[in-house]
């Protein structure tokens, strides 16, 4: 490899990045900015449930129960008079659940039995449905308890003491999601790299490069190193933001974080280079890169739903994505304070992936240059 030729490509790429304030901003600061916006989502919200109540019984007792529901800040209650109204509200997505208290409710309670109450859930948003089920059941149990205070309370025979292994204080949702989001926001610079290559082909400047003594490997490495180092600078604002603005703990070692971020950037940028070297226009590069980086990053990389190891196909597919491994590493470093020995597997996977993708990129580039 000719070091001078490699360096000249490197310098050329730096100039491209530095001379456009917008590109500069996008490469250095956009990860921190997007992280800021995304993390605002993970602060624990109120989680209000819109509830319709149809009291068919109209007794003091049923009234007492609907009052209990109405006074809960988690519910926003509308009163309705029949099923047609409930159905119309459900179709219009104005309510999440409806509670129907049948006639004879008070009688059943007075006889000392269990009075049936119907709950109609909107089944589409399953997480809201589960939430509504949980809090309605809790209210029913409380109400039953107040009805039975004369009975001796029996101690709970089995209790689960759930203990979080790592995060004892702070906003658990945000603290665990921010380290997971860091890999995703770093796919922005990767997009930039994919386009830098496609651009050269589209505007025709690649042909003049072919006429120089430059070799494919030097060219690809020059592009890669330029964008990897430029993106690495973007890690600092991201880290500061996570650490001090959001108070996410960081228990790992910083040199290790930098080292593994380089491995991750190499792998995902090499993927980008491969895309950039096989397409003819930047538009195509963008469409492909969106399919490769964007949707899979959110849905397949284990950011929210962990990867189901028993499903071989999806495990295989996920492990092809550099993001998957870096999500594990980033969480392990921030939250668990893991050492390299604890995560040699994802680290090795990143190194392997970056070698493979760089190799493929160089190969495909050589072929197309000739």
């Amino acid at each position: 490899m000719g070091v001078r030729r490699f360096l000249s490509i490197l310098v050329k790429e730096y100039r491209h990045i530095l001379r456009e304030p917008r590109t500069l901003w996008m490469v250095f600061l956009s990860p921190a900015f997007v992280l800021l916006a995304l993390s605002a989502l993970f602060t624990s919200g109120s989680g209000r449930i819109d509830l319709a109540v149809w009291d068919h019984d109209r007794t003091t007792l049923s009234r007492r129960f609907t009052d209990v529901l109405g006074s809960d800040a988690d519910f926003s209650v509308t009163y309705v008079m029949d099923y047609a109204e409930i159905d119309a509200l459900l179709v219009a997505q104005r309510i999440d659940a409806a509670v129907v208290i049948p006639a004879g409710f008070a009688d059943a309670v007075q006889r000392g039995g269990a009075a049936p109450v119907q709950v109609v859930l909107d089944g589409i948003d399953t997480s809201l449905a589960h939430q509504a089920t949980g809090s309605l059941l809790a209210h029913a149990a409380d109400f039953g308890f107040t009805l039975n205070q004369q009975l001796s309370s029996i101690s709970q025979p089995l209790r689960i003491a759930s203990q979080p292994a790592y995060l004892t204080d702070g906003d658990a949702a945000r603290n665990s999601m921010i380290p997971g989001l860091i890999p995703i926001v770093f796919s922005l610079p990767a997009m930039a790299a994919a386009l830098a290559l496609a651009r050269e082909r589209e505007t025709g400047s690649l042909e003049s490069l072919v006429a120089t003594p430059l070799r494919g490997f030097e060219y690809v490495m020059g592009k890669l190193v330029a964008y990897v180092t430029a993106s690495l600078v973007g890690l600092l604002p991201v880290w500061l933001e996570a650490r001090f603005l959001f108070d996410v703990p960081f228990h790992g070692s910083i040199p290790l974080l930098i080292l593994l971020t380089i491995a991750f950037l190499m792998a995902s940028l090499a993927q980008a280079v491969l895309i950039g070297s096989v397409v003819r226009s930047q538009q195509t590069a963008t469409v492909i890169a969106l399919f490769v980086f964007f949707v899979p990053g959110f849905f397949l990389a284990g950011l929210i739903d962990p990867i189901d190891m028993t499903d071989t196909f999806s495990t295989l597919l996920s492990s092809m994505l550099p993001i998957t491994h870096f999500v594990i590493i980033s969480r392990a470093l921030f939250i668990k304070g893991a050492a390299l020995a604890d995560m040699w597997r994802p680290a090795l996977a990143l190194v392997g992936l970056s070698t493979a993708w760089v190799g493929l990129g160089v190969l495909s580039f050589k072929k197309r240059m000739g």
Binding site: E20, M26, V34, A37, L38, L41, T43, S44, G45, S46, G47, R48, D87, L90, A92, Q93, V109, G112, A115, V117, L121, G123, T126, L128, A129, A140, L147, N148, L151, P157, L158, R159, S162, Q163, A165, Y166, N175, S176, S187, E202, S281, Q282, Q283, T284, T286, I288, L290, F291, F294, V295, P296, F298, G302, I304, D305, P306, T310, A338, D342, M343
Partner: protein
């Protein structure tokens, strides 16, 4: 009017010709969404299952074995017996090999039936992903309440007066998560394809220098925007129709409403993407910049779409911001028509929001074109837009005065907008 349609038509033909020349792009634009939806729809939305869990049984009685067997029977947990002690299991969790550790203490079986004491089982969860921690906790609590119910039945505790809640779920009786996640993906895929194509429509011409050629044709500002929008709209509608077909026929998500209505309401959704895209395309100098804008916008849209965090869980500020998210409004329409069989009457709110987003962004894009592409910063092009408006006002005033400005009006800066 006829002339104008004719000019738009030739621009549309040019765009479609250009698109058909790039086979790779065409393939990705038409088949990519279908493939991605089929692949991801099969993998995502099954819920969180098979979390690796270690059970440390220090009691070794029939009751502790029964508890372990109950944990094994859940879909959520993948239980493995572990004899290496809590510290060994914690080291495995550190390596990411375990999601939860269940510790059954010695004397568990005896404490369970001793009404005075009660047993405590410790569950250590890996909270480096809070979703995993929540699922592991709630699953073990469910199992515990099953154990308690069987115990009370067995020992004949009295059934007290109370409320017996009976749940039924409308539209989705099994509370299957798939309809929700697949519709979210469908919306996001249409969004990303149309946005990308629209976002590069002008930047590409600008970067390649062909925008100058377009500028000397008789195409007007509005004609240019409309002509660029039509191919994107076509692609979006074809993609949408194909994907709805896959969702309904392959994934067997019910189609309860009217398909023509759904396709009709997809139009404002795509138009709002075209508005955003055109605007991005006009403020970017290079395609690289426009893509980065697209990516940043796409991340915000995913975040606001309610896929990651339900909209009701968002903080108030973000709930307000998410009103600008067209994906969120479209998902209300899509789920309303497809899953709930809603008619237009109850969907006016998201439809109006989409129309507002589309018209607003296109209006700004039009202003941007009017100000001229030589202006660089936002301040510059706003000033240029105001200056042009002022000039035009002056000309009108002069025209009203009946002087000989007829010629000057014709020379009024067309959308080339060279700064005077």
């Amino acid at each position: 009017m006829i002339d104008s349609l004719h000019r738009i038509w030739s621009l549309v033909v040019k765009e479609l010709l250009q698109l058909s020349r790039d086979k790779l792009l065409l393939g990705f634009v038409i088949l990519g969404p279908l493939f991605e939806l089929a692949l991801m729809g099969g993998m995502v939305g099954g819920g969180i299952n098979n979390l690796p869990t270690a059970v440390i049984d220090m009691d070794r009685t029939s009751s502790s074995r029964a508890l372990t067997a109950r944990l094994e029977r859940t879909d959520e947990l993948l239980v493995r017996h572990y004899d290496g002690g809590v510290d060994g299991a914690r080291a495995q969790m550190q390596r990411g090999e375990l999601a939860a550790i269940v510790v059954i203490p010695p004397g568990y079986g005896a404490a369970l039936v001793d009404a005075g004491r009660g047993a405590v089982v410790q569950v250590i969860v890996d909270d480096s992903n809070y979703v995993v921690a929540a699922v592991a906790t709630s699953t073990s609590m469910d199992v515990a309440s099953d154990v308690v119910r069987d115990l009370t039945a067995h020992y004949g505790y009295v059934n007290r007066a109370g409320i017996d809640m009976r749940f039924i779920a409308r539209f989705n009786a099994d509370l299957d998560d798939r309809p929700r996640s697949i519709t979210a993906m469908l919306g996001l895929i249409i969004f990303q394809v149309t946005l990308v194509i629209a976002a590069q429509s002008f930047t590409r011409e600008r970067e390649l220098g062909t925008l100058e050629q377009l500028r000397i044709t008789p195409l007007g500002r509005v004609e240019l925007i409309v002509g660029k929008a039509v191919p994107t709209l076509l692609i979006g509608l074809v993609d949408g129709l194909l994907m709805i077909g896959v969702v309904a026929l392959w994934f067997e998500v019910p189609m309860r409403g009217s398909l023509p209505l759904l396709m009709l309401l997809t139009v404002p959704f795509i138009l709002s993407q075209i508005g955003w895209g055109t605007l991005i395309s006009l403020v970017s100098h290079t395609q690289q910049q426009s893509v980065l804008f697209v990516f940043a916008l796409a991340m915000l849209e995913v975040a606001c779409s309610g896929f990651i965090v339900p909209a009701s869980d968002m903080p108030a500020v973000m709930r307000f911001v998410s009103n600008a998210s067209s994906v969120q409004h479209y998902l209300v329409i899509l789920r309303g028509v497809m899953l709930r069989g809603a008619a237009l009457g109850v969907l006016w709110r998201p439809v109006l929001s989409l129309a507002a987003i589309g018209l607003g962004s296109m209006g700004v894009a039009w202003l941007r074109l009017r100000a001229g592409l030589d202006t660089d910063s936002v301040g510059q092009w706003l000033r240029a837009a105001f200056r042009l408006a002022a000039e035009r006002r002056q000309q009108r005033r002069a025209a009203r005065a009946g002087s000989r400005v007829e010629n000057k009006r014709k020379q009024s800066p067309e959308w080339t907008g060279e700064p005077a």
